[in-house]
C-alpha cells in the first residue's frame, strides 16, 4: 500500500520531498502490533487528516513521530533524512511539535508558564522574565480569541480554556510540522472556527499539519489530504476532494455505515426530574424537566453553565438556590452517593480526571459504579465483575486485549467507552451525560445513540450535554439552551435547526 498521491487539493502547490515521512513505522506492545508498517508522506503547506476507529493506532503513530514513543520498527524521515528522536525535546529541535490527545498541562502552573515550558526564551539566560512571559502568553492566547488571566493555575480553568492553553503552547513553538491529536474534542463550534482560521493561516505560510479528529464534518472542511488507518494498518491516502463521508466511514470500520441516529421518542413520558430555579456559580435560576423515555439536550457556549447544571443536579456541587426533585422527592442537597442510589447518574466530562482510575483494569473501573451489585455481604464476586465488564466491553466495542487490561493502556476513545460502560451498567432513573461521545469514533457513536434510545425505551430520562449541535439535533427530543447561566429557551429538536440554536446560545431570543 503506497502513499497516496498528495497535494492537488485546496492547498498551495507543494514541494516535491515531504518534510516528514514514515517508512514502515511499527509499534508492538508485547505480541500485539498496534501500528503496522505504516509509510506516509507529510508535505509543507498541507493539512493531512489521520482517520480511523478508536484504537486504530493514530495516537501511537503520532507519538512515534514526535519522539514520545520509540518505534519498534521502521523509521521517521525529516526532509528525506532518517532520524531517531529519543525525546520530545529532540523532536521539537527538529521542528516537530505535537499536541497530545490528553491535555498535558501542569495543573499548578499558570497558562503563561505552561505555554513556554521547555522553550528557549529571549532575555537573560536562565531567568524567567515574568513580565515578558505574561505579555507573550497573552499574545499567543489572543490569537485563539482568549483573554483570561494567564497567571491563574490552569487547574482552575475550564476545559475549553485548558485546551486553548495546550493549543497556544503548540502554536507558540512555530513548528515546521504541527501535529494535533483531537484538538477540538472539548471545543464548541465557536472556538473550533477560530482554531481553523489559525490553522489555515499556518498552512498558507507553509506549515505541515497532521490532524486527527472523529468529527468528520470538520475534517472535510479543513483537511487537504486524508489517510485512513485500520487495526494499525494504512488503508488509503487520498486528496480530501476525492473522497466522501460514506467512503471514509466504510473504510474506517470495515463495513457500510448504518443509520446514524435512532428514531426519536414517541410518547410524552412522565416528568421524572424537576429542576426549579437552580442557581450556582454561573447558573442563575434555571428550571428544566427531564421526562421518562425522552432525551433532553443541553446546548450552550463554553462556560454557559452546562456542566455546572449537571453537577448540581447530581449532587457533585452544592447549589446556592433552587431545588431538584426526583419523582417528587427533594434531592437537592444529597451527596453523589445518595443521588446515585436514588437513581440519578452523572457521566462526567473529563475522563482522566473524573472518570477513571488509570492504574486499574477495565473491569475494576466498570465495576466501581456497581459495587453493591457485584458483591454479596461486602465480598466482591469477581466473576460477576468480569462478566459485567465483558458485557459492557462488547456493547460499547471497547478495544482491548482483555477486560483485565489497565485502562492506562487504552486509546483515548476506548477510555471514554470505559467511563460510559461504568455508568451505563447502573440502571438509572435519570441519566445525565456530559459530552458522552468526546473522542469516540463515528461507528461507535451511533451504537451509543442507539443504546441511549434503548434506555429511554425502558423509561429512563436522559439529559445530554454536547458541544456538537448536530449531535443534539439528531439525538435529542428537546434542546434546552443555556446562555451565561440562564435558560435562553427550550426548543423541539425535530423542528429546529442549527442556526436557531446558535442564536439562542448567543443570547439572541428573537429566534
Amino acid at each position: 500500500m503506497a502513499n497516496g498521491d498528495v497535494g492537488d487539493g485546496r492547498a498551495e502547490p507543494v514541494k516535491a520531498t515531504a518534510v516528514l515521512a514514515t517508512r514502515n513505522l511499527s509499534k508492538d506492545y508485547g505480541p500485539i502490533r498496534v501500528v503496522a508498517e505504516v509509510s506516509l508522506d507529510f508535505h509543507a503547506g498541507s493539512i493531512h487528516a489521520l482517520l480511523g476507529e478508536n484504537g486504530a493506532g493514530k495516537s501511537t503513530l503520532i507519538k512515534m513521530i514526535a519522539g514520545v514513543l520509540q518505534p519498534s520498527d521502521g523509521t521517521v524521515e525529516v526532509d528525506g533524512v532518517p532520524v531517531r528522536f529519543r525525546s520530545v525535546k529532540e523532536g521539537q529541535a527538529a521542528g516537530i511539535v505535537a499536541l497530545p490527545q490528553e491535555l498535558m498541562l501542569v495543573p499548578t502552573l499558570g497558562a503563561a508558564e505552561n505555554i513556554f515550558l521547555g522553550m528557549r526564551r529571549p532575555g537573560l539566560p536562565g531567568l524567567l522574565g515574568r513580565r515578558r512571559l505574561t505579555a507573550d502568553a497573552q499574545e499567543q492566547l489572543a490569537r485563539l480569541g482568549q483573554t483570561f488571566n494567564v497567571n491563574t493555575p490552569v487547574a482552575e480553568l475550564s476545559a475549553v480554556q485548558q485546551t486553548m492553553v495546550a493549543l497556544a503552547r503548540a502554536l507558540a513553538r512555530e513548528a515546521r510540522v504541527l501535529v494535533l491529536d483531537e484538538p477540538t474534542a472539548a471545543l464548541t463550534d465557536t472556538e473550533t472556527e477560530l482554531l481553523f482560521s489559525v490553522l489555515r493561516g499556518l498552512r498558507d505560510r507553509g506549515t505541515a499539519i497532521i490532524y486527527v479528529s472523529h468529527r468528520l464534518e470538520e475534517v472535510f472542511a479543513l483537511a487537504d489530504t486524508a489517510t485512513v488507518l485500520r487495526n494499525g494498518q494504512h488503508v488509503w491516502t487520498k486528496p480530501m476532494g476525492q473522497t466522501r463521508h460514506d467512503e471514509v466511514v466504510a473504510s474506517m470500520i470495515g463495513r457500510a455505515p448504518e443509520q446514524e441516529f435512532p428514531p426519536r421518542a414517541t410518547s410524552d413520558g412522565e416528568p421524572v426530574l424537576r429542576v426549579t430555579e437552580l442557581s450556582g456559580w454561573t447558573l442563575r435560576g434555571v428550571s428544566v424537566q427531564a421526562r421518562s423515555g425522552r432525551v433532553l439536550g443541553v446546548a450552550g457556549l463554553a462556560g454557559a453553565g452546562r456542566t455546572e447544571l449537571l453537577r448540581l443536579i447530581a449532587g457533585v456541587e452544592r447549589p446556592q438556590g433552587g431545588t431538584v426533585e426526583l419523582d417528587g422527592i427533594d434531592i437537592t442537597r444529597s451527596s453523589v452517593a445518595r443521588s446515585m442510589a436514588a437513581g440519578v447518574v452523572l457521566v462526567p466530562e473529563e475522563r482522566r480526571r473524573q472518570g477513571l482510575v488509570m492504574n486499574a483494569s477495565i473491569a475494576t473501573n466498570i465495576g466501581l459504579g456497581s459495587l453493591k451489585a457485584l458483591s454479596s455481604g461486602g465480598v466482591m464476586q469477581p466473576h460477576r465483575e468480569r462478566s459485567l465488564a465483558r458485557r459492557q466491553a462488547e456493547e460499547l466495542q471497547i478495544r482491548a486485549t482483555s477486560v483485565l487490561q489497565d485502562v492506562a493502556e487504552l486509546s483515548g476513545g476506548n477510555q471514554q467507552k470505559v467511563v460510559l460502560g461504568k455508568y451505563l451498567a447502573r440502571t438509572p432513573r435519570v441519566l445525565l451525560l456530559d459530552e458522552p461521545t468526546r473522542g469516540i469514533d463515528v461507528g461507535t457513536k451511533s451504537e451509543i445513540y442507539h443504546l441511549i434510545r434503548r434506555l429511554t425505551a425502558d423509561g429512563v430520562a436522559v439529559v445530554v450535554v454536547s458541544s456538537e449541535i448536530s449531535e443534539l439535533l439528531g439525538l435529542a427530543d428537546e434542546v434546552a439552551v443555556l446562555h451565561e447561566g440562564r435558560l435562553a429557551g427550550i426548543v423541539d429538536a425535530a423542528s429546529t435547526d442549527q442556526q436557531t440554536i446558535l442564536h439562542l446560545c448567543y443570547g439572541r431570543l428573537d429566534a
Binding site: Q354, G367, S387, R390, R391
Partner: protein, 328 residues
C-alpha cells in the same frame, strides 16, 4: 495483522494470560531471594538457612509486620500514618498501667484496642473530614501520643505484667511464636479485605483517583476515615503484643516502627509491577528488612558497618528488580 481484539466475550478474551502477571509478582521476590542466597553462601557456619533461624527472623519482624499491614492500608488510600509507632508505645503503656493496676488481661487489652480505634478516628477525622494533609495530621498526633505515653508512664519502664498477658508475646503455638501467628492472622485479614471485599476496592479506588471514585458514588471521606481506623486498631494491637513480648512497656518502645513500616510498604511498592501497595509486596519488604538485619548480625559485621551495608544492599536489591523489570 494486528491482534488487538474487542474485550467482548466472543473474541479470545485472555490474550494477556495470567502467567506473565504472576511471573511479574514473583519477580518481586527477586531481591529477597538474592539476599537469602547471599547470606546462605556467606554464612560458613550454616546457621542462616535453618528452620530455627527463620523462626527467629519471623519473630523479629512480627510486631513490625502488624504495623506494616495497616500502614499498607493507609498507603493504599494514598496517605501516610506517621503516628503508628507513637500510638503503639502509648497503647503499650496504657495497657501495662491497667494491668499493673490490677485490671484483668481481657478488659485491659480491650481498652488498649479501643484507645487505638479512638486515635485512628481522630487521625481519620482530621484527614478525611477536616482535609488536613495526612503528614501534618499524623505527625501532630505522633507528637501528642508520645507526650501522652511519657506522661502516663512518667517516663519509666513499666514491668511486672501478668504471665497470662506476657504469653501473648513470648508463648508459642507448637514451634511458632505467638506474635508470628497474630501478625499472620492480621496480614491475612488485611489481605482479604484489600483484595476480596468492596471496602478494599474502594480503598484502592480512592488511592488511585479520589475524584473519579466520588463521582462513581463512593463515599470517599468515609473510605479514607476507615483506613485510619484500621491503622489505629492495628497499631494498638502491635503495641500490645510488643509490650507482651518485652514483658514491659516503655514510652518510646514503638517509635522505630513508624519509619520501618513505611519503608517495608514502599519496598513492596517499588518491587511490584503495579506501583501500588499490596500485602504481598509489604511481606517481601518485611522479608528484606528482617533477613538483612539477621544476616548481618549472624555474619558478625561491625554495627556501624552494618548500617552502611543495609543502605547499600537495599538500593542494590531495588535497583536489581527495577532493571530486571525493564528487561522483561
Amino acid at each position: 495483522m494486528t491482534a488487538t481484539t474487542t474485550a467482548g466475550p466472543q473474541r479470545a478474551p485472555h490474550r494477556r494470560s495470567a502467567l506473565p502477571a504472576r511471573l511479574a509478582s514473583y519477580g518481586t521476590l527477586l531481591g529477597l531471594l538474592v539476599l537469602i542466597m547471599l547470606f546462605t553462601v556467606l554464612d560458613e557456619k550454616g546457621i542462616f538457612l535453618t528452620a530455627g533461624n527463620f523462626t527467629n527472623i519471623l519473630e523479629q519482624v512480627a510486631v513490625l509486620a502488624m504495623v506494616a499491614s495497616v500502614q499498607t492500608v493507609v498507603m493504599v488510600v494514598g496517605d501516610f500514618d506517621l503516628s503508628v509507632g507513637a500510638l503503639a508505645s502509648l497503647v503499650g503503656v496504657l495497657v501495662a498501667q491497667l494491668l499493673t493496676a490490677g485490671v484483668p488481661v481481657v478488659p485491659a487489652i480491650a481498652a488498649g484496642l479501643a484507645a487505638g480505634l479512638l486515635a485512628g478516628a481522630i487521625n481519620g477525622f482530621l484527614v478525611a473530614y477536616l482535609g488536613l494533609s495526612a503528614f501534618i495530621a499524623t505527625l501532630a498526633a505522633m507528637t501528642s501520643f508520645t507526650g501522652l505515653a511519657l506522661l502516663l508512664s512518667n517516663g519509666a519502664t513499666i514491668f511486672g505484667l501478668p504471665a497470662g498477658f506476657v504469653a501473648l508475646g513470648q508463648g508459642r503455638l507448637g514451634p511458632v511464636p505467638m506474635p508470628v501467628i497474630i501478625a499472620l492472622a492480621l496480614a491475612v485479614m488485611v489481605w482479604f479485605v484489600l483484595s476480596r471485599t468492596v471496602l478494599g476496592r474502594q480503598w484502592y479506588a480512592v488511592g488511585g483517583n479520589a475524584e473519579a471514585s466520588r463521582l462513581s458514588g463512593v463515599n470517599t471521606r468515609a473510605v479514607r476515615f476507615s483506613a485510619f481506623l484500621v491503622s489505629g486498631l492495628g497499631s494498638a494491637l502491635a503495641g500490645i503484643i510488643l509490650t507482651a513480648r518485652l514483658a514491659s512497656a516503655h514510652p518510646t518502645a514503638g517509635d522505630p516502627l513508624m519509619l520501618s513500616s513505611i519503608a517495608a510498604v514502599f519496598l513492596g511498592v517499588t518491587l511490584s509491577r503495579v506501583g501500588q501497595p499490596t500485602i504481598g509486596g509489604t511481606a517481601v519488604g518485611l522479608g528484606i528488612v528482617g533477613v538483612l538485619g539477621n544476616g548481618l548480625n549472624l555474619l558478625q559485621v561491625n554495627s556501624y558497618v552494618q548500617q552502611v551495608l543495609t543502605g547499600l544492599i537495599i538500593v542494590l536489591a531495588v535497583s536489581l528488580s527495577q532493571i530486571v523489570r525493564r528487561r522483561r
